[in-house]
Symmetry: C2
Subunit: 218 residues, 2 copies
DNA sequence: ACCGTTTATTAGCCATGCCTAATCTTTTTT
DNA sequence: AAAAAAGATTAGGCATGGCTAATAAACGGT
């Protein structure tokens, strides 16, 4: 059995490995609102359990076993988010904290039954893929909106940050998963871009925002 | 904020106070599968927080504040049990452990929404009352089947023990919440009684069983 | 190639929540 | 009433998972 803290560290490493190919002590500490020295200790412990490969001073990767655990946690987290939004009527900006607690409830049978109850969803309310029972993630070819060029027409597939602020900003502009928009202009100066939704007036998005929007060709 | 262990101790005290008018260190320890000395430490801590009144050597009671917390925990526990059985299709003998974990998820909004989603249930799958948002418990006039006399006709209202063994035994005899049965004979020797369900043949129940069946007049 | 900055690690401390063993209290037996 | 038993508390120890301060390694700019 893993402790809650061990699970949190594995999840943090997994999340960081999505963007970079090695995870660093400092970033893990920041994510967990803890200190680098605490993280070093935990990495040592997880390395002994063969869940991570830790090269001191050079960052950490997950072993196959560690990744499998991370995928289960991601599965549980996204499944509960789906339940909270689709069944209980929470807003997509309200569910992260609660799911963070629920994901640590350990029962395979529970998640299997929940999966069936929700109709075996492949994506959570933020558009992120839900790993299946065996940890398989349904592949999609998406890219960041920030990498798109003038004239591209795209559909929003996922929002890769679950802070209240970003989600509420999208709500206020009428953007949600599935929204289709075309890129009007990209400003080299600050990376901001003007986009026009299918119906409605064009508006501008900062690079901070477009960077976190995963889109697919529309 | 309370820790998980603090919550567990408060719940144990509450449960013991249902049957006796003071809770003892030894019994709390047994319930929590821990040792008496650990319980003493925790009681001291809870007493400082004004959640229990602890008279060393003479047992412990809950303060109003402590009882309010216990009622919230009971509410969460029974609400999740209801969800697991009524929505996810778990058997009533399978849900205790999982609910034990889920009850520690802290979010008032979550429980409010779950309450509405389940249709504001007043009783859980074992027939136990679910305290409302303010901790009020819907009163019923029930008694233990073991206190009934020959000729009484009663309906099973609740099962006051959530061990797999008892629940499966009831399942095997076709007994569930709402079952109606009449008392044929009570044996003074061992306290066992012969009962006859509305439809079907009579059978015998040991005192261990009848003691845990809460019934109301049918 | 060196020096300063950034990042990691180690060493040592602390709180929590558990434990065992020893020492009370209270209750029960004789 | 004294002895024994049962139960509760205290004293002291241990593992976990945090922390700060001190040290070590890697990196970036000159």
């Amino acid at each position: 059995m893993l402790t809650r803290s061990e699970e949190d560290h594995i999840k943090a490493v997994y999340a960081l490995l999505q963007d970079n190919d090695s995870a660093f002590t400092k970033d893990i500490a920041e994510r967990l609102r803890t200190k680098a020295s605490s993280v070093t200790d935990m990495l040592k412990k997880l390395a002994e359990k063969k869940l991570v490969k830790h090269e001191p001073y050079y960052g950490v990767k997950l072993t196959a076993k560690g990744e499998a655990i991370a995928l289960q946690l991601v599965r549980r987290h996204r499944m509960w988010e789906t339940f909270l939004v689709n069944r209980l009527g929470f807003g997509w900006d309200e569910v992260h904290e609660v799911a963070e607690q629920m994901e640590h409830v350990a029962s395979d049978k529970l998640i299997d039954k929940l999966d069936a109850y929700l109709g075996h969803p492949s994506f959570d309310p933020h558009g992120d893929p839900i790993p299946d029972k065996h940890g398989k993630i349904r592949a999609r070819k998406t890219k960041r909106l920030s990498t798109c060029m003038q004239g591209d027409s795209v559909r929003i597939a996922a929002v890769s940050e679950t802070t209240d602020g970003l989600l509420r900003l999208l709500d206020s502009k009428g953007l949600r998963i599935g929204s289709v928009l075309s890129v009007q202009e990209v400003h080299a100066f600050d990376g901001s871009m003007d986009v026009k939704p299918k119906s409605g007036a064009a508006f501008s998005l900062s690079k901070d925002v477009s960077h976190h929007l995963q889109v697919e060709a529309a």
